[in-house]
Subunit: 158 residues, 2 copies
DNA sequence: CTCGGTGCAAAGCTTTTGCATCCGC
DNA sequence: GCGGATGCAAAAGCTTTGCACCGAG
């Protein structure tokens, strides 16, 4: 079984268990959305996802996409990001290493990185301020190196 | 001179220099907005700020508030946050220690903290990925201790 | 006097809501 | 069959835009 299918079957089990536990209905739309998300690469927003499903002639509404994403975020199968814009970005979360983001303020490129010290900070701050820290969001903003930054290339041409 | 007035006079100088450097006009609205921001405590959103100024019978428009906030964020006198909601939160940034945030997912309380290791992470990741990291946003999400969490208190009463 | 900035209102976008219909349990 | 979930469209909420007028340089 390919890695992706293996992950998807695990994810489906987790989602099923979560829905049963919360006494929510196991509708075909919810599983179709989950499948669509896990077949994608990288970040996406609600409109992307909605259009993709429409293009596959799947009958869904935006309302259901929003509803299902909320549930998937709740059960940690999907992560929601607010990268400074007013458009929520989402990302599949199971079976992929937890990571943080680095965003180029010039070309909007998003890179990912991991640093174990963040976990340490999370623990220390939680202890200090008596908070039960469950998750975090760390975004570094800057400019990527000249060779890679598309906007700077354009600037040079002008 | 009180601390706040001293800070405000410094901030005004910085803003003036920035506007001159960028060849932007030094309009009374821009300085009134800056003053209103620096006379506030904690976080605020555009509507808060707009209403406050209206209540003081100052004639401003939302458009000007948005425009001026963009400029103030550009020159680092104001910080913009997206705390997971689709409503931008702002905060004065000069003369106050740089810090990060801890948000209670139950009662939405926002605490602040500092940890020098974040600077180290920022430097290391920047070097590793060839990024010129300029600033960051770290938000920890969790639940505050029972005694402090208003929502849990309410839950207990019900 | 010029043209950037402002106020106001309208438009734009993302997200939420209301309601009739549908279908999982 | 009941009541939660869905689809659709309308509404809501934040932000941006267009345009006439104002005023900083």
């Amino acid at each position: 079984m390919p890695v992706d299918e293996k992950i998807f079957s695990e994810v489906k089990k987790i989602f099923t268990a979560y829905l049963e536990n919360k006494e929510l209905r196991k509708t075909p739309e919810r599983f179709a959305i989950l499948e669509e998300i896990y077949s994608r690469q990288g970040h996406f927003d609600v409109e992307n996802l909605y259009i993709s499903m429409k293009n596959k002639n799947y009958r869904v509404s935006r309302a259901t996409v929003y509803n299902t994403l909320d549930i998937l975020v709740d059960c940690d199968l999907v992560t929601k990001h607010q990268f400074g814009k007013n458009l929520a970005q989402y990302e599949k979360a199971y079976g992929f290493r937890q990571h943080d983001h680095l965003i180029c303020t010039e070309c909007n490129k998003v890179l990912e990185f991991c640093d174990p010290r963040i976990q340490a900070i999370q623990n220390k701050v939680g202890e200090l301020l008596q908070f039960n820290v469950l998750h975090h969001s760390l975004i570094l903003y800057g400019q990527c190196s000249n060779e890679l930054c598309e906007n700077r290339k354009k600037d040079k041409l002008n």
